[in-house]
């Protein structure tokens, strides 16, 4: 579990690790924690899966991945977990969530595909539909147009947090 000192540490590290020789010592100075404790806590949080991954967070758009589609499906609730598990195994899928249906919105399963262009994303979507047996289910592909704001999830005080909604 995450304790108060873990939270304090995550709050300071969420803006990113400094690019300098001893970055964990630097983070430690910010939150008044010895470097060894910073390293020990981060190692444990990662082992426990409370940190999903630790590393470089790339900006897809700037690296040429300009096509981005949020795909939404209406699948039976009894199948959502199984299908979600299958979809998330494809390397071009960058998110896969279940969300509740709404009155004007029948969809309950979401995934995100990032690709270099629209044709590639649509081909990957087709591949996903075939491989996961998603043919019979209603879906929509919502391609992104303008990006008004994008940053790693940053928690406002008093609590830090992280992965993208």
């Amino acid at each position: 579990m995450i304790d108060a000192r873990d939270r304090q540490l995550l709050e300071h590290i969420q803006f990113g690790l400094p690019i300098c020789a001893s970055p964990y010592a630097e983070i430690g100075r910010l939150c008044d924690m010895p470097e060894a404790e910073v390293i020990e806590r981060l190692t444990r949080l990662k082992q426990q899966g409370l940190i999903k991954r630790m590393g470089v967070i790339v900006k897809h758009r700037q690296l040429g991945y300009r096509a981005n589609a949020m795909i939404v499906w209406n699948v039976p609730d009894s199948l959502v977990k199984q299908l979600g598990g299958h979809i998330s195994r494809f390397s071009f899928v960058t998110l896969c969530y279940q969300r509740p249906r709404q009155p004007e919105w029948p969809y309950n399963l979401y995934c995100m595909i990032h690709g270099k262009d629209r044709a590639t994303v649509l081909a990957q979507l087709e591949q996903l539909v075939d491989a996961c047996g998603l043919n019979g289910f209603d879906k929509e592909a919502l391609f992104s147009l303008r990006c008004f704001k994008q940053r790693g999830a940053i928690y406002q005080n008093p609590t830090p947090a992280l992965a993208d909604g």
Binding site: G16, R99, L142, Q150, A163
Partner: protein, 152 residues
């Protein structure tokens, strides 16, 4: 231009960046270069806006709460409404998408009460209703994103 070192740093250190006293030195050792080369290359990637940061990715809703929200906004007003929404520090993503629901954003807050207060404030300020789509389950095992950087 991305060098082969840039490409290696982008692709190979999304998931298991070293958690050790001298992580950039450890990377340098693994790649057969100097620590200074690695520090410069990361600085360049950061300065050129190719990376948003080096750090932990935490599963949603383990710390704090978040929700995806959608709005349907007339085209002429979209930029102005989007700007108002982006100004909230609790908003971390805000995209226009091709759909009747054309504005999609994520709000992250310390707790459910804070989340609802932010949503309420956004609705009042913009005078548009939101469709609220909190996360129920997360199926994604985030291993990082395999970039194909060879054609750039």
């Amino acid at each position: 231009m991305l060098t082969s070192l840039h490409k290696q740093l982008l692709n190979d250190y999304q998931r298991d960046f070293p958690i050790a006293a001298r992580p950039y030195q450890d990377i340098a050792d693994a790649l057969g270069v100097n620590e200074d080369d690695v520090l410069s290359a990361f600085t360049e990637l950061n300065d050129n806006n190719f990376i948003s940061r080096i750090g932990p990715v935490i599963p949603p809703n383990h710390i704090g709460v978040s929700a995806l929200l959608a709005m349907s906004v007339p085209e002429q007003q979209l930029q102005a409404v989007a700007d108002k929404i982006s100004a909230y520090p609790e908003v971390n993503h805000n995209y226009e998408r091709e759909h009747r629901f054309n504005l999609w954003f994520v709000v992250i807050a310390s707790d459910a009460e804070h989340l609802l207060a932010v949503i309420d404030s956004i609705e009042q300020e913009t005078s548009y209703k939101t469709m609220q789509l909190p996360m129920l389950d997360d199926f994604f095992i985030d291993l990082g994103f395999k970039l194909d950087l060879n054609n750039d």
